[in-house]
């Protein structure tokens, strides 16, 4: 891994892509155009506002961790990125861009094939086998080639280091695996659709330490190819696995920057209090 601190900035300043009035806080020192971008994002659940004017860039092929106390809006932000927020009756205004295009312009079904999601609780489909779970996204969208499906099943189970553990149990129900295996199965299922961005909503919080370690190793491997946004309650985890960290508090983005900076020299008092454990 090269150190991005020593890389020259390929983007001189944000002003080249934004209008003057859109003064926003961004992850600084990014060397390429961001994969996703939230611009002045507000989000509501019914009448309750959950996000206030959040502008945030999601760097390409990096891990962005989102931290903050419960109810700070970090999950809402994550779920806005693949428009799952609207599935529970939520509403947003502001813009979210994926590769420069507004995600609201397209069918959410297509967006979600590009922006995959892994949930807090492992949720393999209950009526499907291990193998069927991996390729569920492809099969239900019309892929019929059995050989190709078998190949993709193996490929993605290998990518999440699950193949050796389940190769003899491919036809057992997905829910028969252990919790940690189920979560890796869910990641394999997400990967099989070949997304560009993977959103993870506390993917290891329901798992034991060893399973957590495996998931973290996997995230480190995946960022070579994917852009990852991970919401986590575990600050050590954020420090271990992320390149950038964003701190949310009461629906507002307080601070975002390189993880090393957020955890050592945060610019805001609230961030410092939170990462040092004074509150939250």
């Amino acid at each position: 891994m090269y150190d991005i601190m020593q890389q020259p900035l390929k983007r001189s300043s944000m002003s080249s892509t934004q209008t003057a009035e859109e003064k926003i806080s961004v992850a600084t020192d990014m060397e390429t155009a961001p994969r996703m971008e939230a611009l002045r994002l507000n989000a509501w659940y019914g009448k309750t506002q959950a996000l206030f004017n959040v502008s945030l860039e999601i760097p390409r092929n990096k891990v962005l961790a989102i931290i903050g106390p419960s109810g700070c809006g970090k999950s809402t932000f994550l779920r806005s990125l693949n428009r799952m927020h609207e599935e529970v009756g939520g509403r947003i205004d502001g813009r979210i861009l994926l590769d420069g295009e507004d995600i609201m312009d397209n069918d959410p079904v297509f967006l979600r094939r590009k922006v995959g999601m892994v949930f807090q609780k492992p949720n393999p489909f209950p009526t499907m086998t291990v193998a069927q779970n991996v390729v569920a996204g492809l099969k239900l969208n019309g892929m019929r080639d059995r050989k190709e499906l078998a190949r993709i099943t193996e490929e993605n189970l290998r990518r999440v280091a699950l193949w050796d553990e389940v190769k003899d149990a491919l036809n057992k129900p997905g829910s028969s695996l252990s919790g940690g295996q189920q979560q890796r199965l869910c990641i394999a299922r997400t990967l099989a659709v070949e997304p560009e961005v993977i959103l993870m909503d506390e993917p290891a919080s329901a798992l034991d330490p060893i399973s957590t370690m495996k998931i973290e190793e996997l995230i480190d491997e995946l960022k070579k190819k994917y852009t990852i946004v991970i919401v986590t309650h575990n600050m050590q985890q954020a420090a271990r696995i992320s390149d950038y960290t964003a701190f949310f508090y009461m629906g507002k983005l307080i601070e975002v920057g390189k993880t090393s900076k957020i955890f050592t020299k945060p610019a805001h008092r609230q961030t410092e209090d939170y990462v040092t454990g004074s509150f939250g």
Binding site: R112, P124, T127, A136, L140, S175
Partner: protein
């Protein structure tokens, strides 16, 4: 109270509650066996192959069967199911997907009202809606009435069973970029399949045992008919007619027919259980 006395008192209470639940269970099973025993003893002379293979004998002649009524009942239930099951399913899916909103609330309320409407009233409705315009009693009218009876039951169980499927599966499907309808059809419905099937079975069992809605729709028929636009026989109307008849032989046939009807529901139940046996649990 000493510890020992307290312990004895608790054991006594436990024994009391246990025997009360046991007695309730016996009462339930006992009623079933009582009904079976009574129908068998009353109809023993006619519980034979003739009953299910022969046509009704002309008035005045002994013997005969109700082959046409069995087939008629199955045709009527099939007609009712043909539209009752899809309508009930779709309405249930709609209600489960749309929790809020005045329309869903209204539909849910009306479903409950529909479930509570006496079946004879549904028969009258079918008479007015189908029989009068067609100017004749028909299997179609009977099937129409039975379908209306089935819909609320299927709607409610479908909605409830879909709601029992954790929303995380729905979210997982949508987050994979699977369209909403495919998520429903291939992820959620299979998980709720067993419960929905039970609801459908119960509605069929209810429909096959209904007499009132058939009296002035399907009417009944002493001859062999599978024509949908003609009056058709059914087991329940057969029982109704034969039980009221002034002939002892006919009364016995009504008892025997009751037994066959119970057995038919019983066999259907076993078949349904066999079909739904192999499913994963969530």
């Amino acid at each position: 109270m000493s510890t020992a006395a307290l312990y004895t008192w608790r054991k006594f209470k436990n024994a009391m509650m246990l025997s009360m639940t046991g007695l309730s269970l016996l009462a339930v099973i006992g009623v079933l066996f009582l009904i079976l025993a009574y129908t068998v003893s009353k109809g023993i002379n006619h519980i034979n192959w003739d009953l299910i293979t022969q046509m009704p004998a002309p008035v005045g002649e002994e013997g005969g069967g109700m082959a046409n009524a069995i087939v008629g009942s199955l045709i009527l239930v099939a007609l009712g199911s043909a539209y009752g099951i899809p309508v009930g399913l779709f309405a249930g899916i709609y209600l489960a997907e749309t929790e809020k909103g005045w329309f869903a609330r209204t539909v849910r309320f009306l479903t409950e009202v529909l479930n509570g409407i006496p079946s004879i009233v549904i028969g009258v409705v079918a008479f007015i809606v189908v029989v009068l315009p067609m100017k004749r009693f028909s299997a179609l009218a009977g099937g129409f009435a039975l379908g209306i009876l089935m819909i609320p039951l299927i709607t409610r169980t479908t909605e409830e069973m879909i709601r029992l499927v954790p929303s995380s599966f729905r979210e997982a499907g949508l987050a994979l970029g699977i369209p909403r309808w495919k998520t429903m059809l291939f992820v959620i419905l299979p998980a709720a399949f067993k419960g929905i099937f039970t609801g459908i079975f119960l509605s069929i069992a209810r429909a096959i045992g209904e007499t009132a809605p058939l009296l002035f729709t399907a009417l009944g028929n002493r001859f062999w008919s599978t024509e949908l636009d003609q009056p058709i026989a059914s087991m329940t109307v057969f029982i109704y007619d034969y039980a009221r008849a002034p002939f002892d032989d006919w009364n016995q046939q009504a008892w025997a027919a009751s037994f066959i009807l119970i057995m038919l529901v019983f066999v259907l139940n076993i078949i349904f259980r066999f079909v739904t046996r192999k499913t994963y649990t969530a």
